[in-house]
């Protein structure tokens, strides 16, 4: 297999921001990525890691009408994914289906399953229900978020409920709690908000300014990781959300995104605008932290940064762990370069 530090690269034609792991593809390690070009014709690439793991192949190349700001693969159907796109002055979101005999034709067109057209403002993201079976979707713009029910066979999406977070909080993204499917975390200007989907009410919030990205830890309940511009990465225990369980220094410039490894609970990846991907080891057992004075704790703590992948030319925005091979992740820098790396050398011994 590959050496680990020397990643496998793949170049997109244009700039790009988002990459997503195709979770539903059980046979291959595949990623979906879409370009961000204001003026050229945008593309969605379906990438697949060859069985040896030494090559990254383009399995499908599909044209996409607009520049793609967000892309998420459907957890139960590998052919379905959602995008958030911009035409320059307006935003839209849609669910797409990859046409059946994909891979052969160079630029086949995507089939639009449903258009999530309940928004007016700038749409941030589309979240798929993490259960892997449910056909629920959430789309989020700066003020509202909408819960959809998708019927892929009928090619329609139906608004189940819609809630406004209010003008004051401009939402910027979110994450669906994999441990409690009724709970969604949304990042806003000044806080991380937690919404209950049954009542569509805000139930809790963590006051924290300028949070860019949040991710739930799949393996450990109540643990949420957040990234913000100013002070890097914070790990929160949602049961006592006043003070972070642990802080990681993050990046030299903004920390753009964080992802918890789906298998190894201590591993966290972050990407930043300092053109680097950092791999962290967060042994965050909250008990240990609480028992010691902060000075001692900081002294005893070993450097949590396991590795920093710096072989990027531009800011890195896209990041995804492979759920099939959890030691593999894909990163995407703004110049359109996809890099697949393996963290095998850094895996905790079990």
């Amino acid at each position: 297999m590959q050496g680990g530090s020397s990643g496998i690269g793949y170049g997109l034609k244009y700039q790009a921001r988002c990459i997503s792991d195709v979770k539903a593809d059980k046979d291959h390690t595949s990623f979906l990525t879409g370009t961000l070009s204001l003026k050229e014709e945008n593309e969605v690439h379906l990438l697949r890691l060859s069985s040896g793991g030494s090559e990254l192949l383009c399995e499908g190349l599909f044209s996409h009408p607009n520049e793609i700001w967000d892309l998420a693969s459907c957890p139960f159907d590998q052919r379905i994914f959602s995008t958030v796109f911009s035409t320059g002055d307006s935003f839209g979101a849609a669910v797409w289906q990859i046409p059946e005999p994909y891979g052969q034709s160079n630029s086949s067109t995507l089939e639009c399953v449903a258009s999530l057209d309940a928004h007016v403002g700038k749409i941030n993201c589309v979240l798929w229900c993490p259960s892997g079976k449910s056909d629920k979707l959430i789309s989020m713009d700066e003020q509202n978020f909408v819960l959809w029910s998708l019927d892929s066979s009928k090619k329609s999406a139906e608004v189940l409920s819609k809630e406004s977070a209010g003008m004051r909080h401009s939402l910027s993204g979110g994450a669906w709690n994999p441990h409690d499917l009724n709970s969604v975390a949304a990042t806003s200007e000044s806080s991380i908000q937690f919404w209950d989907l049954r009542t569509m009410k805000k139930v809790n919030s963590i006051e924290r300014a300028h949070v860019r990205n949040v991710d739930y830890n799949l393996k450990r309940e109540h643990i949420l990781v957040s990234a913000d511009d100013e002070s890097g990465i914070h790990i929160w225990d949602l049961r006592k959300a006043k003070v972070p369980v642990q802080e990681l220094p993050g990046h030299t410039h903004w920390t753009w995104a964080v992802r918890c490894n789906p298998e190894y609970e201590e591993l966290i990846l972050s990407v930043g605008t300092d053109s680097a991907v950092n791999l962290w080891f967060a042994s965050a057992s909250s008990e240990r932290k609480a028992s010691e004075s902060p000075v001692e704790a900081s002294r005893l703590r070993v450097n949590p940064l396991l590795n920093s992948y710096t072989d990027y030319e531009d800011s890195v925005y896209g990041l995804a762990w492979s759920s099939r091979e959890p030691w593999i992740f894909a990163s995407l820098s703004y110049d359109g370069r996809v890099v697949i790396e393996s963290v095998k050398p850094f895996l905790p011994r079990r």
Binding site: A209, K242, V243, S275
Partner: protein, 787 residues
């Protein structure tokens, strides 16, 4: 003839046998040898056979020998005969004389009986006469005896009647011992007849005794009396069956109460020390409290000695008291050093206490006061050392914070510099003072300190280690870096906490950490090596307590962290500014640019503030302009690319550039080395400013990338960036990087622009000039930067 010689031998032999039979325990053994050997030739033996003897003789000997033997034998026989005759004669003589004596005795005894009868008669008459005398004198003698007894009784009665008077007299002359003796002598009588005949007497004497008891008690209680007198009093009281135990209790209680007076109260302690100070100068001052205290303690120990002698069974109690006093002393000491106390004062008080302890120890060596106080002293000294360090820490942070308050009132002045200098001084001075103090501790030659020397050194070393560690923590807390994790109520939004703490202060702290690392710690380690290294047993167990290398590392890390934190807080402020700038307008519907946007001014103003703070605190870099050539050398493509962006070329190539923008960027990126935007920050003015600018420009680029612009929006960005170029280059060390970043912003804007048509240079120029003129008009501080 032949047998004549034999009797001689026989005789000698017989004599020998007789002797040996007399001496030997068993005669048969001694004789048997001779009887066997001479069974034939021994004439004396019982088994002597004459015929056999003869045969043997004849066989053995010749004639001559036989003849000789014969002669010898004849002579022997003759001898024996005469001997026998002699014996008979002598015995006869004796018999005759004995008969004579008996005859004489017989004649003497006659007439003796009559004499004897006479004697008996005479003795009988003597006896009867003496009986007569005896009976005639008996009556008189009885009478005399009676009289004698009465006299004795009368004497006793007299004594008892006299008792009160006598007691009074004793009271007067204070011979209580006699009084008590008298009273006790009279006691049995008084007990028996007290209720009847001697009622008055008894009462009177009891009264007198009561007075005596009272007097004795007062004597016992009075401190002016000699110990012996008091001891006697106590013994007397005991004899009088006065319950001494309660007295003892009372006395000891009194002693206990007097303890309060002996306390060195924390409030008075300073006075004590001060006065002592003055008395060192002028010995004449008699009334200084230290002396008074000493006297008091002397009195106390005297009293203890007295009580110990008086009540030997009260030792335990006294021990307790002495221990209590010692413990109290140290407790008070503890309270005393809670306030800020100089080592000299501390030592003075300590000396006083130690003297007290020594005094008491002399009196009560069994109380093990010295052990107790040694332990307490250890604790106290340890605490003192720890307190001293915490005071120093407090001092330093106070210095920092004190100025911080002022700072908010007068930002313009060079407060930061003042703060830095002041806290540097506080740090250095503080450690110097501490060393002086500790040296005093070590120089002190009170016994206990000599014993504790090693321990003290250990504590001092440990103290320094802990001090620096907690100083570092304190710095971090002051800077607001760790406050969020420390304060449990938490919830502190980063923005809030950084508002509370002035950014300049963080910079000061950063520089201060450097100072500590480079100056203070080496000095401290020198000092420790010079005067505080010693055979410390603890040190050998756990390695040396003071590890300057580790501390240097800690402070180095802290200084870097703090500097980074400073830059972070600064850039955050600007970042908020930029965020507002880019979030608010609708860039797709932007109007044509008329002037350079306000935020540029604010941005520059913030930078200027950073520059000002940095100038006050950090040293200037030595290589101000060298960096430029270096970075130019390393990124040739970057600089060439930035050249193309210069005004003249830019206008010409604008249209192509817009189209081939992406291609060019990619191409450029292929060839150039990565411009090192995020270099390590150094402790120089330029480095900090440059880093701040770099981070802000990077943020600017990222904000731009998130937007979509129309033509006018793009032009606005272009104008702003163009305006920024000159002043930024002025302030910044690494021009190439700034150039690159500014270009990147424009590139990002053009990438995100729907219709890229840059402003014409003349218009650009005109707008910039207008802006410059306007800012000149205002004539505010921007002047220096923008000119």
């Amino acid at each position: 003839m032949a047998t004549e010689a034999a009797p001689m031998d026989e005789k000698a032999k017989r004599m020998r046998d007789l002797l040996s039979s007399f001496y030997a325990p068993d005669p048969s053994i001694s004789t048997s040898g001779s009887s066997i050997s001479a069974s034939f030739d021994n004439i004396n033996s019982t088994s002597f056979d004459a015929d056999q003897y003869m045969d043997l003789m004849i066989k053995k000997s010749n004639l001559e020998v036989l003849l000789q033997r014969h002669v010898q034998m004849a002579a022997e026989i003759k001898n024996l005969d005469t001997d026998l005759q002699m014996l008979v004669y002598e015995n006869y003589n004796k018999f005759i004389s004995a008969t004579d004596t008996i005859k004489r005795m017989k004649s003497n005894i006659f007439g003796m009986e009559g004499n004897m009868d006479q004697l008996l008669q005479k003795i009988m008459s003597v006896q009867s006469r003496s009986d007569g005398v005896n009976t005639s004198l008996f009556e008189k003698r009885e009478h005399i005896e009676k009289l004698h007894r009465t006299r004795n009784l009368l004497r006793k009665v007299q004594f008892i009647y006299d008792l009160p008077a006598r007691l009074q007299k004793c009271i007067k002359s204070e011979t209580y011992g006699d009084a008590v003796r008298f009273y006790i002598g009279a006691m049995p009588i008084l007990k028996v007849y007290g209720d009847t005949s001697f009622q008055d007497c008894r009462r009177a004497s009891e009264e007198a005794i009561e007075i005596i008891i009272k007097n004795l008690q007062t004597k016992l209680f009075s401190d002016s009396e000699s110990i012996q007198a008091r001891a006697e009093a106590a013994v007397l009281l005991k004899q009088l069956d006065v319950p001494v135990d309660s007295l003892k209790d009372k006395l000891l209680e009194k002693l206990e109460q007097s303890l309060d007076g002996l306390q060195i109260k924390p409030e008075e302690a300073s006075l004590l020390a001060e006065q002592n100070d003055s008395s060192n100068d002028a010995e004449s001052n008699e009334q200084h409290p230290a002396k008074i205290h000493e006297d008091a303690v002397r009195g106390f120990s005297e009293a203890m000695r007295a009580y110990r002698e008086i009540f030997p069974d009260s030792e335990e109690r006294l021990f307790k008291l002495a221990r209590a006093l010692t413990a109290m002393h140290f407790e008070n000491m503890d309270l005393y050093i809670r306030k800020r106390v100089s080592a000299a004062d501390f030592l003075r008080i300590f000396r006083i206490i130690w003297e007290d302890v020594v005094l008491m120890d002399e009196v009560l060596p069994e109380a093990e006061l010295s052990d107790l106080s040694a332990e307490a002293a250890q604790v106290t000294v340890k605490k003192f050392v720890a307190r001293t360090f915490s005071h120093l820490e407090q001092d330093i942070s106070d210095t920092i914070l004190k100025f911080d308050i002022n700072q908010k009132e007068a930002v313009e002045e060079e407060v930061l510099k003042v703060v830095l200098e002041a806290s540097k001084k506080a740090g250095l001075q503080g450690t110097t003072d501490i060393f002086q103090d500790f040296r005093q501790l070590l120089d002190e030659n009170i016994g206990i300190f000599v014993k504790m020397k090693d321990l003290i050194i250990g504590w001092i070393q440990n103290g320094f280690q802990d001090f620096f560690r907690s100083l570092e923590a304190q710095f971090l807390v002051l800077s607001g870096k760790t406050s969020s994790s420390k304060e449990i109520e938490g919830g502190l939004v980063e923005g809030k906490s950084s508002d509370k703490i002035h950014a300049g202060l963080i910079l000061v702290l950063a520089q201060l950490s450097v100072f500590v690392e480079q100056k203070v710690i080496p000095r401290v380690s020198e000092e420790i090596a010079a005067s505080f290294s010693g055979g410390n047993s603890q040190a050998f167990e756990n390695g040396p307590a003071f590890i300057p290398g580790e501390l240097c590392r800690v402070f180095h890390a802290a200084s870097e962290k703090l500097l980074q934190h400073y830059i972070d807080t600064r850039t955050q402020k600007i970042s908020v500014l930029l965020r507002k700038r880019f979030k608010t307008p609708n860039w797709v519907k932007h109007k044509e640019p008329r002037e350079v946007h306000m935020y540029v001014d604010m941005f520059l103003h913030e930078l200027e503030e950073v520059g000002k703070e940095v100038k006050q605190v950090l040293p200037q870099g030595t290589f101000r302009k060298h960096k430029r050539t270096d970075s130019n050398g390393s990124n040739t493509t970057t600089s060439s690319r930035s050249n193309t962006l210069h005004n003249d070329k830019m206008t010409r190539s604008n249209s192509q550039r817009a189209r081939s923008q992406l291609f060019e960027t990619h191409l450029a990126k292929l060839f150039k080395q990565k411009v090192e935007i995020f270099t390590k920050v150094e402790f120089t003015q330029e480095s900090v400013v440059t880093t701040t600018v770099k981070l802000c420009l990077k943020s600017l680029q990222e904000y731009v990338r998130l937007q979509t612009f129309n033509r006018s929006g793009f032009q606005q960005i272009q104008l702003d960036i163009q305006f920024l170029k000159a002043p930024l280059k002025e302030t910044v060390e690494d021009e190439a990087a700034i150039d690159f970043l500014l270009d990147e912003v424009i590139v990002a804007a053009s990438e995100r622009c729907l219709d890229v048509i840059p402003l014409e240079p003349p218009i650009l120029d005109k707008l910039i000039q207008a802006k410059l003129a306007k800012s000149k008009e205002h004539n505010n501080n921007n002047n220096t930067v923008s000119s």
